[in-house]
Subunit: 200 residues, 4 copies
DNA sequence: CATGAATGAGTCTTCATTCAT
DNA sequence: TATGAATGAAGACTCATTCAT
């Protein structure tokens, strides 16, 4: 029976190598070596190099989305949910630096089918933000004129740009968590009605 | 000048091809064909394929930064400067879709030296935002606790994520300009002191 | 016997797969699957893929030669033996289409040792023709100047080219048996002395 | 401009290597070495290894068919045309041993598109025989009951089996030309009406 | 300056074969 | 005996780069 542990070792190795060199500069043989399997073994578990990258997203992405969901469910106040998202996202980036790097770098890469796949999980992730915004609008805290489709992307983009800075920049000037706090602070002030300004 | 024209033609061609296929899937021969020069000719103007990508950023990036500077100089109010940045950025993306795609996709690519280069122009571009923030803080409109290093990245990231959505997504639900307005609206409310809320 | 059954199943499977895809495009795993055994099991019965092909010839070839011998022994007249060979050969091709295809295609393949092996059985088969010719010459029906070494190959080649046509061609214009009759008719007229023309 | 001489050198080299090792056991690098070009150069002239084999047939096949046509046109008597075909075919095999080997071995190989291509030329070649037979029937020399579709294949098969023997067999017992004569002698006697037996 | 034919290093992928269970 | 996961050697093909013209 194919060994699940071996599959995981390959994904782990690919995670490191892709993060370090980028997808196109990574060699299957290098991943194999790092995973301590033969080159051919990788092809028992993955159809191709592309498939390995996709599977990696699939595997790790599912965990991330699920963790974020759990974290946000614990929070009731929709505005606090937004803050929770920010902190968790940056925190996740800190803890999964390699994955974050790959998402930063390769998520933007071209091959169509990959974009399509990744999108599903990504949209699910993004919608955790818009759900909170909708809720906030329903209970009258968040301004009606906010379009959640724009705001969710803007918020995610803001956080992710910080993540990128943190991941790629050699000098770590800003602590991810405090960045998350400042960014959610700015956003929340930007989203909510004037009368709630002092509450958050 | 003859030469400059040919160099420009190559850059234009590279712009299209890189945007369409991504850097690693683009062939020098394809760029040469589109530019109507011989493959070898490209190497008279650029040291390597990498150098072509860098030069492309250099060439186009200078124009973009310069345009943005001009646009922002016309505006005096620092808060309005921020809004101006947003509108101009999304506008630029709309007008230079290929370049935007490349920046979205390849800017994230890994090869170290490229990241370093790109950073210079990029930092200059980003600092147009932080300069406005500093100014706003100086004249007492923007809250003191805002860290411009975080805010500039967050703001840029927010805009850029919308740009990415617009550039990559087949369905164009959101108009770039109106997105720019909503995003700057959110940010500005998030940045300024409470007492100025009604002013902007 | 259990083992023999498994060995036979592998040979049958190989027969089908080799015929369908050709030796070099056939995979051991595909043969194993068709034979409903594990890949490794094949190596318990055959030393290598090459050996499997050889064994296949050996196994099936023995049957064919033996059948042909029996059929020809029943006929006394050496000239009729020739006709019998023709009819039986084409008939065999019709009944063992896969084997025929493999012989047509792979018998010609290069690896030296295979050619050598196959030759033994093949020569035995061919000699059934030359034996009949010799006999015909001994009893004065077949012309003395006929060189049996040439005639046997020519006759076999003629039949086999028809077999090839039948095996490979999608449109089945000529019925194998009637072809066999015409070809042996031509040959017999070509081999026998003038005075026997009306006899056959 | 791509060098026609270089293309020919590659075909020549492929001819030798394919003949020696068979298509599947031949390496592009080996052909390149023998042709004194770089591996990649082969791909400037041929789309793939398959294409190289096809082009080889195309290139050499055209010459062979054309030569045979010329040779047969010189002969008026349709029966003598048949003999001419035999002698020329075996002669060609003698002179183009490598090509003959490849045709013997690879013509039978599987990939469909190749069989289809080769067929066109092959049918043209075969029809030189059936044309002569038809002519012979028209002028009343060849028996009416002969089906040219069968006879042409039988005759070709007979000659080709001898060619195979000569090409593959280490011991060269039979001289190709004298084989050709005996085979055409047998066939012609088999084809013509009794009253013409003494004429040929 | 311009060309584009030639180069050849580089890598993914396949698949016959092995061997621990 | 039987299995099938693992191996790793092997090779077709690509394409950035060079250089003779």
């Amino acid at each position: 029976m194919k060994n699940e542990d071996k599959k995981k070792r390959i994904i782990e190795a690919a995670l490191t190598v892709f993060a370090e060199k980028g997808f196109y500069n990574s060699k299957i043989s290098e991943i194999a070596e790092k995973a301590e399997v033969a080159d051919g073994t990788i092809y028992l578990y993955f159809k191709s190099k592309d498939d390995l990258l996709i599977s990696l997203f699939e595997y790790e992405g599912a965990i991330i989305v699920s963790n974020m969901k759990k974290a946000m469910e614990k929070v009731k106040d929709p505005v606090e949910k937004i803050r929770t998202f920010a902190i968790n996202h940056l925190n996740m980036v800190t803890k999964n630096r390699n994955l974050a790097t790959i998402i930063q770098v390769e998520l933007r890469q071209s091959s169509k089918f990959m974009k399509e796949y990744v999108n599903k999980k990504f949209v699910e992730y993004l919608n955790l933000i818009s759900d909170a915004i909708h809720e906030g609008q329903k209970i009258g805290i968040i301004r009606e004129e906010i379009k959640s489709g724009i705001a969710k992307r803007a918020f995610f983009g803001a956080l992710d740009e910080m993540a990128r800075y943190w991941v790629l920049s050699p000098s770590k000037k800003y602590n991810p968590i405090s960045s998350a706090k400042q960014i959610s602070d700015i956003f929340i002030r930007g989203l909510i009605k004037e009368e709630y300004l002092n509450k958050y």
